[in-house]
Amino acid sequence: MANIRTMSFDAVIVGGGGSGMRAALQLAQSGYKTAVITKVFPTRSHTVSAQGGITCAIASDDPNDQWQWHMYDTIKGSDYIGDQEAIEYMCQTGPEAIFELEHMGLPFSRTEEGRIYQRPFGGQSKEFGEGGQAARTCAAADRTGHALLHTLYQGNLKNQTTFLNEWYAVDIVKNADNAVVGVVAIDIETGETVYVKSKATVFATGGAGRIYASTTNAHICTGDGVGMALRAGFPVQDIEMWQFHPTGIHGAGTLVTEGCRGEGGYLVNKDGERFMERYAPNAKDLAGRDVVARSMVLEILEGRGCGPDGDHVYLKLDHLGEETLNAKLPGILELSRTFAHADPVVEPIPVVPTCHYMMGGIPTNVDGQALTVDKDGNDQIIEGFYACGEAACVSVHGANRLGGNSLLDLVVFGRASGMFIEKQLREGINLKDASEEDIERAMSGLNRINNSENGEKASVLRAELQTIMQNYFGVFRRGDFMKEGIEKLKALRPRIENVVLEDKSNAFNTARIEALELQNLFATAEATAIAAEGRTESRGAHAREDFQDRDDENWLCHSIFYPESKTLGKRGVNFNLKTREAFAPKVRTY
């Protein structure tokens, strides 16, 4: 008997970061009974760490800027497996979504004209790549994520959204029709397990950077949404596509914004050479992130790395002057002084490519509806289930995300999901109630951990998992290595399933949460590994030494990982633009 309390809502959003709170705001404004389940107090979500800005053609820096140019850049950046319809929607709707945030109070930096300040970011161009570098990233100094997340939380307070703060969603509850009808969740403070029933369940659970040993991601980025979806039997898309950010602080992993290079900083090797001039003669340090990260790794592998072990390169900022650094990059000065013991005003920051962003995720349409693919290769909507933000793969980032596009993605599609669900609720949603067995099934993983007796500790298993992913599925990948990595993961699986929870107490038991998070980390890592080994080409962030070229004939498509068979399928890329002809794949150079 699933003898637990039930709480009922019209819509439940799992995750209190940018996309979750944007969706919640939309629904709260519409008057529907909405709750946000978030494992940390909302302003502790990882959106808070975004620094450089939110890219959008608001035509402040350049009054002639066009959203179509932003669309072109994003499609090219995605290495042509971003869905063009979704990218078009994002770039076109973006300005409206940004102005809403500003009206809500987001403290953007300003130009002399009083408009929102925009800075150059990687992969940006004017006139469809022909007009030189654009400056399209709207910024609040180098604390844009902080400013955005707090503004959204404040907007939700104003609209009286119900927050279930420090609650942890354990698993999806599906009804007899395979529709999603809520989640089982734990109130972390009391340990109470509750069935949170909902007509619409939105996963805004963020990324999973913690599958790697070295990541810019917060401790909380453990792929909870991807893990839950996979356990419920739903597929994930393009999960092999992981962005390694060029500038993580060496050793600490903390992020140094691409805005540093946007403001004029550049990378140098041990000889002081500005090496990006060789790899990307036009865009140089503002080439796509995948290109810059690979160039850095090649410099290091070829013996031109910096430091006693030659295992990083330098990001030079001192030539920008103290005044500019204080005004434009104050947070970076703080972070570098704290974590690199380097003062950027006088010395360079040691940096190395570091796992940063999950381009893949739960496949959705532009309305946020989660999809699966049937036997005949047709998209099927999963009733009651939605996703947005990093957890989703809508897909606007394809094989490589452009800097500043993650914040735009989460605002635009958080908003779109909210609007669509509002419409559906108005029209009426009728889903069968979950049975006792349905709820019981969603509790089985939790029950197993609660009854564990003699397994290994979560901390040990997590470290092992992270090392495997770091060693076998990093910036450069190779088939035989990846097969070895997959074998190691197979051996790790039963040990992780058997993780021990020694402390069975109820009050704020973070050990229980970490044991559950470990299951999600593993599920995400395993999907990543199988998809990475299966995609036999190089595209965007997925760079294979044994298949060095892009293979449009076989792989101009999404990969779809099916959890039950642990196999890889393909799904077509959307090339249907509403406003013009689609952009055909071209060789991608910067």
Binding site: V40, R44, S45, P107, R115, A218, S505, A507
Partner: protein, 234 residues
């Protein structure tokens, strides 16, 4: 070996809180206090604390470190260890849920009281509301607050009246909206603060300034609010 002493309390097991001593091998490295906590939790998973970003921007891991409130993730041992000893306690003044985790409801309630959101009822333009760089500069030193509660839980006035005195963090945010050229609710905001407790319980002790991990100055913001209140009364 570093001697670490940590406040422990599990309401289901312990009748009262106690200090537990650990020894940690830091290999002589000047790591952060959070690294020490993570290392200990790997050994003793029952040790309980909050953490998220580990880079000083999310505000989860405010704790009392060798007597001073701060964020565990950006406080290096070189600043925290005295005589080879590191003492970690929960932030003072609020109820303890377990170990280093405190119940922050009162802190959040004070934040909510100041209406921490933009109020401007004039019709929004089709683009952003314009704001000059000078007007925007007035928000610097205010909007960066991460709600870690280091300041409010270091404030004796907040310890005394956590239900009636807004506290330094909430007042810093109150001023963030009073100072914003786009906000039109100045009078309404001041009226809500105009009582003997909300603002005027601040006695200029300035513990808040001393502990703020973001280098912000709530006392200065409170001074500005006082001036505005006095001006609006005359």
């Amino acid at each position: 070996m570093l001697n670490v002493s940590i406040y422990r309390y599990n309401p289901e097991v312990d009748d009262e809180p106690y200090m537990q001593d650990y020894q940690v091998d830091t290999q002589g490295k000047d790591v952060m206090v959070l690294d020490v906590l993570e290392k200990l939790k790997a050994e003793d998973p029952s040790l309980t604390f909050r953490r998220s970003c580990r880079e000083g921007v999310c505000g989860s891991d405010g704790v009392n470190i060798s007597g001073k409130n701060g964020l565990a993730c950006i406080t290096p041992l070189s600043e925290a260890v005295k005589g080879n000893k590191l003492v970690i306690r929960p932030l003072p003044g609020l109820p303890v849920i377990r170990d280093l985790v405190i119940d922050m409801s009162q802190f959040y309630a004070q934040y909510e009281k100041i209406q921490p959101y933009m109020i401007n009822n004039s019709p929004a333009p089709a683009i952003e509301r314009l704001q000059s760089p000078e007007e925007r500069a007035k928000l610097d030193g205010l909007y960066e607050c991460i709600l870690c509660a280091c300041c409010s839980t270091a404030c004796p006035s907040f310890w005394w009246n956590p239900d009636k005195f807004i506290g330094p963090s909430g007042l810093l945010q109150a001023y963030r909206f009073l100072a914003d050229s786009r906000d039109t609710a100045t009078e309404e905001r001041l009226a809500k603060l105009d009582d003997p407790f909300s603002v005027f319980r601040c006695h200029g002790i300035m513990n808040c300034v001393q502990v703020c991990p973001k280098g912000l100055n709530p006392t200065k913001a409170i001074g500005h609010i006082r001036s505005m209140l006095i001006r609006s009364a005359t």
